[in-house]
């Protein structure tokens, strides 16, 4: 159990700079998720933490211990970091028992080893699997054994690389919940890399959003979801609408959601920029209201538990999607009145993008 601090980490693989001056702090005992699209460098980050990659620059600290500074690194076998790669990576020539006890040294007696293995197999919900071979296990079982193997050495930290990516959708929710609960209860600092928003939002205490080799934002799931620092950051955690807007005062904004589009264009002298809106924050009403703007429904995408309604505002080139739970009374081609119930996330002109 230890905290992780990364400062200014730069990693170059071949001619490509995969991580660029990356900063990250995860306090002790938390379950962190690193969320980002594929190719953003999240696996590279994990491998750097494990010591499998030599960085070009920057520092990594486990608690107070410096494990990597510039290109001086502590080799992986001295870091005491449990690494669970994609699909488990169990040793095919060893049984489950031998896999799990792999890290236990010669000083541990055979009997003790058996006890530890038994405890861990109970913990991951696979008792009596000692003699099985990895080939006989399903994908989810392999992941859990790999986790037990990593836990056996009482690691300072556990690294999980897309641990649930290989599982099918139904199994996934169940196993990921079990694993996360288990890791949280063991109070081991855990870092999971994933490209799946829901995996990250559901399980993590802290989410770090990665883009192009950098952590663009980190915080609790609700924090990164509700208060994204940029459109790109917002997009990593869920659907987002970027609307042109003007700031006309403290906490007062004009946008297509509260003012006719042509009126916004006429306003001069105010600061221009964009606001970020989540589709579920748009409220639709079919009763006319003079204070509200209206829009035409041009399409309804029905998903069962909810639906996305595409709205056409006069004068606005893009359509705006609103998420509703009830499509009753909504008809394609009809007009509805629109209001906005969430916070206005204001992005001044210069700060758009990254």
């Amino acid at each position: 159990m230890t905290s992780l601090e990364i400062r200014d980490l730069t990693v170059q693989l071949g001619s490509r700079e995969v991580l660029k001056n990356l900063d990250l702090y995860i306090s002790s005992g938390l379950f962190a998720a690193i969320l980002g699209p594929s190719g953003c460098g999240k696996t590279t980050l994990l491998r750097s933490i494990a010591g499998l990659i030599t960085p070009k620059g920057g520092a990594i600290r486990f608690g107070k211990q410096l494990v990597s500074i510039s290109s001086l690194v502590l080799p992986p076998h001295k870091r005491n970091v449990g690494y669970v790669p994609q699909e488990g990576g169990l040793f095919p020539h060893l049984s489950v028992e031998e896999n799990v006890s792999f890290a236990l040294g010669r000083r541990v007696s055979r009997k003790e080893k058996q006890e530890i293995v038994e405890q861990l197999l109970d913990l991951v919900g696979m008792p009596n699997y000692q003699k099985k071979l990895p080939q006989e296990l399903s994908g989810g079982q392999q992941t859990r054994i790999a986790l037990a193997r990593a836990l056996a050495m009482k690691p300072a930290m556990i690294l999980l690389d897309e641990p649930f990516a290989a599982l099918d959708q139904t199994l996934r929710a169940e196993i990921s919940q079990e694993v996360v609960a288990l890791l949280k209860s063991s109070k081991t600092t855990s870092i999971m890399v994933t490209h799946d928003r829901e995996d990250a939002l559901v399980s993590a205490d802290i989410i770090a959003l990665m883009r192009d080799g950098q952590v663009v934002q980190s915080g609790s799931p609700s924090e990164v979801y509700l208060r994204p620092i940029s459109a790109a950051a917002a997009e990593s955690t869920g659907d987002i609408l970027t609307l042109p807007a003007r700031r006309i005062g403290r906490n007062k904004y004009l946008s297509p959601l509260n003012s006719p589009v042509e009126q916004i264009g006429k306003q001069v002298g105010f600061e221009s920029g964009q606001i970020l809106v989540r589709p579920e924050e748009i409220v639709l009403m079919d009763e006319p209201d003079e204070n509200l703007v209206s829009a035409k429904i041009c399409k309804i995408n029905y998903y069962g538990h909810d639906a996305l309604v595409e709205l056409d505002f006069t004068g606005l080139s893009q359509t705006i999607r609103a998420r509703v739970t009830d499509t009753k009374g909504l008809v394609v081609g009809s007009r509805v009145f629109v209001s906005h119930k969430g916070p206005f996330r204001w992005m001044p002109e210069k700060a758009t993008g990254e």
């Binding site: 494990a50 992986p76 076998h77 690494y83 790669p85 990576g89 040793f91 095919p92 890290a103």
Partner: protein
């Protein structure tokens, strides 16, 4: 480093011997009409055998992979079996059958039979590795059988075919037994004649160096032809077995072809040996026979172990792409092409400079190890390279040092390959003749030398049990190595 030194030792001694001669002498030897004639025969024979063996080998492998036979896996194992029969046993059995069986064409015939399995083996392995889905896709794209072979199969297997052809050509270059029995004047026989006749080690060494040069050239050629082959596995799960041809006409032709090869390469020689054996079974000296078998096994096992010890570091380094590993690898391959007689020559010089080594069992085993190390290195390299990188990394994160990882992960996973490499050395060492003739301790007879001394004084009947035993003993490892049911025993592809 040690392995590298060991491998370069014979070359060093050859050079030293050769440099004992005067320049004018060297020129004389080189440009004698006889030398050129010998050279032409050697090259001609090598080229002819390699071409025929490659053609037949690929055809056999293709048929055995693509056509459904009853007892297919049995046939696949049988077709490899002739590799266990030493060339001189082949020659001997055909001489028994056809009196006056002699000369270039006879040698061509025998050597093609003996070396075809090299090509069949490598080609079959490549076919098994290839991605079946590509065949299925090309069928749906409207390609016929020949087009599929030319455009889809061939690119995937050609490197392996080239490797098999190289083995076959090196075999011919270094063969001594069959060629001597059949009276063909190639370089190896010339070296033997010069050495035995006049003890002129310098001239023999010069001819030996020519042989080494040709071998090196062939190895280079094979390397050049080898293209970087990236079999991109289009599907995560690689399908290795698919629809096979079931047409009766094709089946019959293929069956006929395979059985003809088996008849010529296996059934006829062995039945010949058996009939001679049973005709004279009362007059066999069993104590001599069993002593020779034990000696053979002892020397070969020792040789195989030394070879493994030397091959392990080279194979590992070479698998990791280290420069030293690659250089050693190449040196070993060239040494592999040394004819046994040349190795004998070189190690006699080396052994006599260190008194206690001369004519010791250790030196003989060492010669075996050097001669056949390439076989072990190849399998060490490929099996080590196949150990998935991520398992090595995980072991490191689980607190294991590099040495511990090597011992606990790499070696166990590579064991099937290491084992088969060692067995290959064992197999080759057991039937080695010329170097054994030169290096064996006094009174120490292996099956091969005992058989040789009988045949060289035309006591063919007494040679039969030795020949038969050689075939039997050598056949066991061949079966083990080529167990078709076992695959490679590694779950490597899964990861």
């Amino acid at each position: 480093m040690l392995a590298f030194l060991a491998a370069s030792l014979p070359l060093f001694y050859l050079l030293r011997r050769a440099l004992d001669a005067q320049i004018s002498e060297i020129a004389l030897i080189l440009f004698r009409g006889k030398t050129l004639e010998i050279l032409a025969t050697t090259l001609g024979l090598t080229a002819a055998v390699t071409a025929c063996a490659s053609l037949i080998g690929v055809a056999l492998a293709w048929m055995l992979f693509n056509i459904d036979f009853p007892f297919k896996s049995g046939l696949q194992a049988l077709v490899i079996l002739p590799v266990a029969i030493p060339s001189y046993v082949f020659a001997y059995s055909w001489i028994l059958l056809i009196p006056g069986f002699k000369g270039f064409w006879a040698a061509l015939f025998v050597l093609v039979l003996a070396t075809t399995p090299y090509v069949t083996l490598t080609t079959l392995a490549a076919l098994r590795r290839s991605d079946w889905s590509t065949y299925e896709v090309s069928q749906t794209l409207g390609l016929n059988g020949w087009q599929i072979f030319a455009r889809v199969t061939w690119p995937q297997i050609k490197n392996s075919v080239a490797a098999g052809s190289l083995l076959s050509s090196l075999y011919v270059l270094s063969d001594f037994g069959a060629i001597a029995l059949l009276g063909v004047d190639t370089l190896t026989r010339a070296i033997e004649n010069i050495y035995r006749g006049s003890f002129d080690r310098s001239s023999a060494s010069i001819l030996a160096l020519i042989l080494v040069a040709i071998s090196a050239l062939l190895i280079r050629l094979e390397e050049r032809s080898r293209q970087k082959l990236n079999i991109v596995k289009s599907s995560a799960r690689i399908i290795t077995k698919g629809v096979t041809t079931g047409k009766l006409r094709i089946k019959l032709i293929a069956l006929l072809a395979i059985n003809t090869y088996l008849a010529l390469g296996l059934v006829i020689p062995i039945s010949q040996l058996l009939s001679i054996f049973f005709a004279n079974s009362t007059s066999i000296n069993y104590s001599l026979l069993s002593k020779a078998s034990l000696s053979t096994l002892l020397a070969a096992c020792l040789g195989a172990l030394i070879a493994l010890a030397l091959a392990l570091p080279v194979g590992v380094l070479s698998a990791q792409g280290s420069k030293l590993g690659k250089v050693s690898d190449k040196a070993i391959l060239i040494v592999h092409a040394l004819p046994g007689i040349v190795m004998g020559l070189a190690l006699v010089s080396f052994g006599s400079s260190i008194g206690w080594l001369y004519q010791s069992l250790l030196l003989l085993s060492f010669a075996y190890a050097l001669l056949f190390m390439a076989k072990a290195v190849g399998s060490v390299r490929s099996s080590v390279a196949r150990v998935p990188e991520n398992l090595i990394e995980i072991s490191a994160t689980l607190g294991q040092k590099k040495s511990a990882t090597f011992r606990r992960v790499v070696i166990p996973l590579a064991t099937p390959g290491l084992l088969s490499g060692t067995l290959l050395v064992l197999l080759a060492a057991m039937k080695e003749l010329p170097a054994t003739l030169m290096l064996k301790p006094i009174g120490f007879e292996t099956l091969a030398t005992q058989m040789w001394s009988y045949t060289s004084i035309f006591r063919f009947n007494e040679a039969a049990p030795y020949a038969l035993l050689l075939v039997l003993v050598a056949a066991i490892p061949t079966f083990l190595i080529n167990r078709p049911d076992k695959g490679d025993g590694l779950g490597g592809d899964r990861i």
